[in-house]
Symmetry: C2
Subunit: 107 residues, 2 copies
Amino acid sequence: MENLNVIDVFKALSNETRLNILKWLREPEKNFPAQQAHLPKEVSIEGGVCVGDIQEKVNLSQSTVSHYLSLMQKAGLLEAVRYGQWTYYRRNEETLAKVAKFINEEI
Amino acid sequence: MENLNVIDVFKALSNETRLNILKWLREPEKNFPAQQAHLPKEVSIEGGVCVGDIQEKVNLSQSTVSHYLSLMQKAGLLEAVRYGQWTYYRRNEETLAKVAKFINEEI
DNA sequence: TTGACATATCGAATAGTATCGATATAAGAT
DNA sequence: ATCTTATATCGATACTATTCGATATGTCAA
């Protein structure tokens, strides 16, 4: 939906930890064992992992991780879904596809 | 040849001017009219444009442009060929292809 | 060998990013 | 209403990037 700002995307990708988060979110079940433990069985946020689970895996402060995630969301790389007190972040494949296309065709 | 450092690549791509330079170098003849004016006819640096011609097009100081170009070269996005007092820069398609692959397969 | 030109490097000023701990907000449980 | 837990935001400090003008280096020509 949102328009692609490649500069912001590349800035977001210029960081090892953020790159890792994106990679890990390819296979959330594998990389975040406790994934969606807080969600009742009838609710499922496809591919989404909450901030706390991500924070546990990267070794940085809560505020830094929260900041990273919202940065990636603003760049369009992630999307956020709130459920109760938790925010679930998942990959935004649409943007990723656009970025790949941009590199192939524009750059 | 050189190994791909994606962080450095994404940093280099996080800038409008540098992105433009890369784009322009897709079609050097079209974007740099004076292209290779200094080279004798028997020498040709395929796709290469000298620093001065690039500087004329982006509106930044000589030192900034030289710095940008060497940054992009270190990241592997460009390669440099020196001829006499001129340095010709051209795209390094091998790296660009690797970056596209990385986005598709790793990220 | 001196002068002119192309490019690279240096040093400095300013702006932007990374990262933290502390605090605010919001939801859920008692 | 109060307490707890999850996340977001704030303010500070350290580090990195941007950009410049000045200077150094390298090459060619007279």
